[in-house]
């Protein structure tokens, strides 16, 4: 679960495979690919609810991925909410600093400084 949460947070905020216009990968090492570290993350509080599945004998299912499935949209929505008052309706994932700035600029009437950025 913890690892899943971390990966979802990372997908929402920074991890992404980027190619240039000729198709060359720009994020081919961990120096360029923003693999999230302990410093960017908080500790997590987890609570369990038990709902046995009726479709196998053990009643058990894997849950590791559920952390990712929940945390990515939670983080992404939090970022969108934080800039909603500026008129921003959407930011592509991951919400890197440059993307958020571009989205803010695009939403601001009469200011297209950010449109040229990636």
């Amino acid at each position: 679960m913890h690892g899943g949460i971390a990966q979802g947070v990372a997908q929402a905020l920074m991890e992404e495979v980027v190619y240039d216009l000729d198709g060359n990968p720009l994020t081919s090492t961990f120096a360029d690919y923003s693999f999230i570290s302990a410093t960017e993350l908080p500790s997590f509080e987890t609570r369990f609810t038990e709902t046995p599945t009726p479709i196998n004998a053990l009643g058990a299912k894997g849950i590791g991925e559920s952390g990712t499935i929940g945390s990515a949209p939670a983080l992404h929505n939090a970022v969108c909410d934080a800039v909603a008052h500026l008129g921003v309706r959407h930011v592509d994932m991951p919400t890197t600093p440059i993307r958020v700035w571009n989205a803010i600029n695009e939403a601001a009437p009469g200011n297209d400084a950010g449109k040229k950025g990636r």
Binding site: G3, Q7, T29, F30, A31, S37, A38, T39
Partner: protein, 157 residues
């Protein structure tokens, strides 16, 4: 060239090419494969060992640079009778690993961190581990392991 150093208390002497990295010296010449290579761009910390007691990324140190030095790898952490080092014991207690790939580097980085800062806060640990990546655990239990290890009496002797 001949490169001599002390690894986990044992004198080692091997004939290697000048371009041999410390991590390859340890893995291939000495035969200690506990130290992993995870990235090769000095980013992941899986290759972290102690050089004269301080954490370094052994993929970014030439074996020749470490000639004459004292190296500690994960194999040198447990006591002779097999009792785990407090940082290792804390990882076991707190379930601080899943696949284990990052673990040797994490243990060495935390050992060095605790030597420099014996009573770290959670934030100190998180900042101190900025150079060590883990894909599996989300770091929660690794940070907990470091804090538990910091409270071990053996770490304060």
């Amino acid at each position: 060239m001949k490169v001599d150093m002390t690894v986990n208390g044992t004198p080692e002497s091997h004939d290697v090419a000048a371009r041999t990295l410390l991590v390859d010296y340890l893995r291939d010449a000495v035969g200690l494969t506990g130290t992993n290579i995870g990235c090769d761009t000095t980013s992941c910390g899986a290759c972290t060992v102690l050089l004269n007691g301080e954490s370094v990324k052994s993929c970014t140190v030439l074996a020749a640079q470490a000639a004459g030095d004292d190296i500690t790898t994960i194999e040198g952490m447990a006591h002779e009778d097999g009792t785990l080092h407090p940082v290792q014991a804390a990882f076991q207690e707190c379930h601080g690993l899943q696949c284990g790939y990052c673990t040797p580097g994490m243990v060495m980085a935390i050992t060095s961190l605790l030597k420099e800062n014996p009573e770290p806060t959670e934030e100190d640990v998180r900042v101190g581990l900025e150079g060590n990546l883990c894909r599996c655990t989300g770091y929660h239990n690794i940070v907990a392991s470091a804090l538990v290890a910091s409270r071990s009496p053996e770490m304060h002797r």
